[in-house]
């Protein structure tokens, strides 16, 4: 099936009444959850997974994709209105969005953010449509050694690109794989670290980890920051009107940064946060008036907004075509696929074209919905920011508990949710990044399987990973992605010490 035929199949899914309805639900729910400071796309997707139980995979996954990019879109609203980014990918949005709001131009800032997001999202969906099938057809020939090397590369990339210490990010990733080893080994039937407890035989469901490490840990942070302001009723949004001159000013950064965002989204480990910061710095560097940045510059707002949305769609390229997530959020998306019995990867395009193309087609639709719905509805949607923190905390706890309970109807899982929530909070307090943990948890089982298959093929010789060029080069990239950032950090520390 070529891309054109594929898109026709995809639009049949996306434009069916079911498709339209679920894309709409997805983007609205995603926007609302993404707006709430602290709650990001990971929590949004994890909270929504139980709702999809019993649904057909195609509309369910179309909805989850809508939740994902809706949450990224919603994150900018709280960045602009409260200077409290809903997600880390919209931190750079606040640099110029919040000063605009302070100048009484919040409505205009929100409208610019919506247009830039739409543009970035649409450009990258077109590129996703062109790139994902090509990558799928290449990946079909990958053997277990190449898959293992690819997953290793994804894991090392996210560890080295995480904020802060690389050692802590690697510890987080190794801990994630350690947790996967708990349960019955699928190949030999050996019980590993279960201590005879029946509840541990199946291992941990990924939803327990995702909701514990992210939603419950977020709740802890919300408890500590519960006295922070929420949106007051008398806060004025101002006009939403964007003039032709504004559009002209934002067109350059929007176009450039959509491509930058997409490329960074495709690369494992980078994602929306890094993309938005790089785009912001890039635009400031090439600007004729860099002093305007940080004081309410339209360019400074449009650049990270188009970039973070482009990165979101870009992150679907490795997920859909290789079956390998490149970030914490796409790892949870992969979890959502697996819950619905769909294995993303090179075979998805041929085995389940309605899902592969349906998701891509739904993104066009979702971007249009986000723009058309959000522009007039922004003043009303922003009201969600006035939900008092104590009530919000109680409701998020309840959503997480119901979500976990409805996987297995087992109270033991709820206690484990509490344990992983405490772990997630401790990781935040001591600056251990959580995305490498969840990514390692999702990839760990697959990595072990690929490793053992490779070793079976080679009769126990590790040479299989270096004998052919593809796994060898991927392992080299994995190694370099760990070593180079460490060397750069070490050199900059030495320079600082000499100064």
């Amino acid at each position: 099936m070529n891309a054109f035929d594929g898109m026709i199949t995809g639009f049949q899914v996306a434009l069916s009444w079911e498709g339209i309805l679920f894309v709409l639900i997805g983007v609205i729910v995603g926007t609302l959850i993404g707006m709430m400071p602290g709650l990001g796309p990971i929590s949004a997707i994890a909270i929504m997974i139980p709702i999809t139980y019993g649904m057909d995979p195609a509309p369910a996954l179309v909805m989850m994709a809508g939740v994902y990019y809706g949450a990224v879109f919603g994150g900018s609203t709280s960045s602009i209105l409260l200077n409290a980014p809903g997600i880390s990918g919209t931190v750079a949005t606040a640099f110029d969005g919040y000063p605009m709001a302070q100048q009484g131009k919040a409505g205009k800032a929100l409208a610019i953010a919506a247009i830039a997001s739409f543009f970035g999202g649409t450009v990258s969906v077109i590129m996703l449509m062109l790139l994902a099938p090509a990558l799928s057809s290449v990946a079909i020939s990958f053997g277990p050694p190449a898959y293992f090397a690819l997953m290793l590369m994804g894991l090392t990339a996210i560890s080295s690109l995480s904020e802060g210490s690389t050692i802590k990010a690697m510890i987080s990733a190794v801990a994630g794989v350690m947790v996967v080893t708990i349960g019955i080994d699928p190949q030999t039937g050996t019980q590993r670290f279960t201590f005879g407890n029946v509840n541990l035989f199946e291992g941990f469901d990924f939803l327990i980890i995702a909701l514990g490490l992210f939603a419950i840990a977020e709740v802890c942070m919300l408890v500590l920051n519960r006295k922070n302001r929420s949106l007051s009723d008398d806060q004025k949004l101002g006009s939403l009107k964007v003039t032709r001159a504004d559009l002209k000013e934002m067109s350059g950064p929007m176009t450039r940064q959509s491509f930058v965002g997409f490329i960074l989204g495709v690369l494992p480990g980078a994602g929306a946060t890094i993309a938005s910061f790089i785009s912001y710095i890039f635009e400031k560097r090439i600007s004729k008036n860099p002093e305007e940045f940080g004081k309410g510059s339209i360019k400074g707002l449009a650049a990270p907004e188009s970039s973070n949305n482009a990165a979101t769609s870009g992150a679907f390229v490795p997920l859909l075509s290789l079956g390998i997530p490149g970030s914490g959020t796409t790892a949870v998306m992969l979890g959502a696929f697996l819950v619905l019995g769909v294995q993303p990867g090179p075979l998805l395009m041929t085995d389940r074209p309605e899902i592969f193309w349906g998701i891509i087609a739904s993104m066009y639709l979702g971007n249009i919905f986000l723009l058309v719905l959000n522009l007039p509805l922004i003043p009303y949607l922003a009201k969600i920011l006035s939900i008092p923190r104590p009530l919000l905390i109680s409701l998020v706890i309840m959503f997480s508990l119901i979500g976990v309970y409805s996987i297995s109807f087992n109270v033991f899982d709820l206690y484990m949710l509490l344990v992983f929530g405490a772990l997630g909070f401790a990781m935040r307090v001591f600056s251990f990044p959580a995305p490498p943990f969840i990514l390692a948890f999702i990839l760990g089982g697959m990595m072990e399987q690929a490793f053992r298959q490779s070793m079976t093929i080679s009769n126990g010789s590790l040479a299989i990973f270096v004998d052919s060029p593809l796994p060898l080069s991927l392992i080299l990239i994995a190694f370099l992605s760990l070593v180079i950032p460490s060397i750069l950090k070490w050199r900059s520390r030495r320079k600082l010490a000499k100064m």
């Binding site: 050692i167 350690m178 802890c220 309840m398």
Partner: protein, 152 residues
């Protein structure tokens, strides 16, 4: 000796890694598998030992932002512990008393405890949220939640 926080965390992780590695060596052998179930755990244990040692000896200085994150007042920590205790009791009782009643009680008391003083709104949300969720899960999605003491 344990002057920095990284050294303390490094030591704790080293102990955890050592226990994990010890348990990995206790895993039974399966004679027909070319790569047995203990290979990956052993590798992970060793890797964690190395990484925790690297953290212990790392000379990276904690940034101000990282220090700020750790700086939680004791009173706030107690509030957090109280919320965890409430969740614990919720889990303990919710299959016995039922989803609707326990959820209503939890939302009301935790919101009140965390400083929400609008009684009327709190009562309305505490009652409507569990009823709405129960209706969605049980009647729309066909996922059963514990009835407990209620007859529905």
């Amino acid at each position: 000796m344990l002057s920095t926080i990284n050294q303390r965390i490094g030591l704790i992780l080293f102990i955890i890694a050592a226990i994990y590695l010890f348990l990995s060596f206790q895993l039974p052998n399966y004679p027909y598998a070319p790569i047995d179930a203990d290979v990956i755990p052993k590798g992970l244990g060793v890797l964690m030992l190395v990484l925790s040692a690297a953290l212990f000896f790392s000379r990276a200085i904690e940034t101000e932002a990282e220090k700020e994150k750790r700086n939680i007042p004791k009173k706030e920590l107690l509030v957090l512990l109280a919320v965890f205790a409430m969740i614990f009791f919720y889990i303990l009782l919710f299959e016995i008393i039922g989803f609707v009643v326990m959820t209503a009680v939890f939302i009301f008391f935790s919101s009140w405890f965390l400083g929400y003083t609008k009684w009327k709104t709190n009562i309305i949300v505490s009652i409507l949220f569990p009823l709405g969720m129960y209706a969605i899960f049980v009647f729309a999605l066909g996922i059963s939640l514990p009835k407990g003491i209620l007859p529905i």
